[in-house]
Symmetry: C2
Subunit: 333 residues, 2 copies
């Protein structure tokens, strides 16, 4: 146990905690006024800023016994910066609010900050501001900012009949990892199988491909969304906003081979993870032509006249998307 572990947040106090957090974050780059004043001042070179905000609540979005603090920080940053990428923008900065109990180890808070900083660094973004306060259970509030570099934003509303539907990476890995954790299987020797460990890691530490969003925007994507609540649920938002019907061919989904060993192990259907699981933060988008897909994107279906989402030509009757006020037993963004 390091000396850091022995100190609680209350021992350090608010201003001591802020100073300790600043010490684990990288210094501000030139031209930026970051943490330490009433507000940060950030460049917005094309005269616009893209902004998105999210809350993560202990016991609902994360559990301290299932995820390392650094992974919670990574995940919090990732889910919000994926929203920026889904607009076709490049994440530039992140602000965080952190509410924690006073008896929490400072080490936990600093590891969350390290996770935020690591994921920001991976995305090329900086941490521009924060707030810390006390609460009975831990909560993170993240706001990510981004820039469009002169491009139009890609909304949910631009899909047209005849468009192809594509995805930037695998879906369902995080949900499978969560199911392994919930089953207790992740703690057993069986979990030492690399295939299963990879799924658990995907749940604990999603690593979105942020560049996929701006690439899709530059390639002419007509609509785009971050898959955070489940593929069918999130495609439903595009279908509704665009006034189209979207069709998914489940066999086309990338990465499904990784789901099958876990599905066999748990006696369940991998399609539920792939179609209703969130948190991988792949991006889904529509494009006018299949040959417009940028590298890394996989065609998984198309858009037609009508409404709603079909999977393999049928309505999806499996688990629906996540509702934060109705779910009880699993944790989602």
């Amino acid at each position: 146990m390091s000396q850091e572990d022995a100190i609680t947040v209350a021992d350090l106090g608010e201003f001591g905690l802020i100073a300790a957090i600043r010490a684990v974050l990288p210094p501000d780059p030139p031209g930026v006024l970051g943490i330490g004043d009433d507000g940060a001042v950030l460049p917005a070179p094309d005269g616009r800023v893209v902004a998105s905000t999210d809350l993560l609540v202990e016991g609902r979005h994360f559990r301290r016994d299932w995820s390392a603090a650094v992974d919670i920080g990574v995940k919090a940053a990732a889910q919000n910066m994926a929203d920026i990428a889904a607009m076709g923008a490049v994440p530039t900065a992140l602000l965080f609010g952190l509410a924690v109990p006073g008896d929490l180890d400072v080490a936990w808070v600093l590891d969350v900050a390290r996770g935020l900083a690591a994921e920001c660094s991976r995305a090329g973004a900086l941490i521009a501001g924060g707030d810390v306060t006390s609460s009975d259970s831990a909560m993170l509030a993240i706001t990510a900012l981004g820039g469009l570099a002169g491009r139009d934003p890609v909304t949910r509303a631009g899909a047209r009949p005849g468009d192809v539907l594509a995805i930037s990476g695998p879906v369902g890995l995080s949900a499978a990892g969560l199911a392994l954790l919930q089953s207790g299987l992740a703690a057993l020797p069986a979990a030492a199988e690399p295939q299963l460990l990879r799924l658990v890691a995907a749940h604990q530490r999603p690593q979105p491909d942020y560049a996929a969003g701006p690439l899709a925007a530059a390639a002419g994507a007509t609509s785009m969304i971050d898959v955070s609540d489940g593929l069918v649920a999130d495609l439903g938002h595009i279908a509704e906003a665009s006034g189209v019907r979207l069709e998914v061919r489940s066999a086309s989904l990338p990465g499904i081979g990784a789901l099958e060993p876990a599905a066999v192990r748990l006696g369940t259907d991998w399609r539920t993870w792939a179609l209703a699981g969130g948190e991988d933060h792949a991006l889904a988008a529509t494009f006018p032509e299949a040959d417009m897909l940028p590298r890394g994107w996989t065609m998984i279906g198309g858009a037609g006249p009508g409404a709603g989402v079909l999977v393999d030509s049928e309505p999806w009757h499996g688990q629906a998307g996540w509702d934060h006020f109705r779910g009880t037993d699993i944790f989602r963004d």
Copy 2:
């Protein structure tokens, strides 16, 4: 009781709640992509954006039995937009995260949203995004954005010996109002005295003068801060960042006449409220010359060589600024 009161957040569900919140917010102005997509797209006409974030936790920053929901929304928006003003910027947009228990009345959530919208409207800002999720107690996470209109930001670090020290409005009213609420006096007939009611109102619904920040910046303020943790504590941040000593003449503080009746009533010293009370969200700033103060600003002292803050030529031995992990009995931003 309206029909709204009878519906809980869990009844409505996450997406129903989002739709209900959107219905009480004003529509997006032209040129803005607001709530409803992965991220908002906002103008940043001078190529920079100012950003600040804050958390408000039930039982720490607000109590549902002491403040109406609409006032909690007003206060949450006000404290964050005051941070934007303290940089010399004009608040332009606000994003909010709202974590609430599922059994909470939807009416409470909608009233918070109405309060946020009302204060944004007063400041000329729009509500650009949000997130709702479930938690055991209510929490708000607010991020405010602003624009500098080509001006340099006013930081905490620019005060110089010889500068005059000034304030944009009264301090201590909110702390006095809180003391009245804590004493139970606010619930008694004595509180019907308009002087006392005004203090309670100042605690429940601060109304910062946002224009004072850009005015001070345009007038040549050398440093500025939002007084949220207490005047002496916040001036201490300017003194430390600027490497100066600040001196306050307490008799010069505006609005202290309003504090005296409550101080008499509670048998306490008004100076503690004025010097250590936060939440009024007055701005404190330094200027090179007294005749540079914009309208609404009052000279309260000056800057000299040295360090720290003196009150009436003495170190301040009263209550210090607020620390969120050490205080127990009062609630602050």
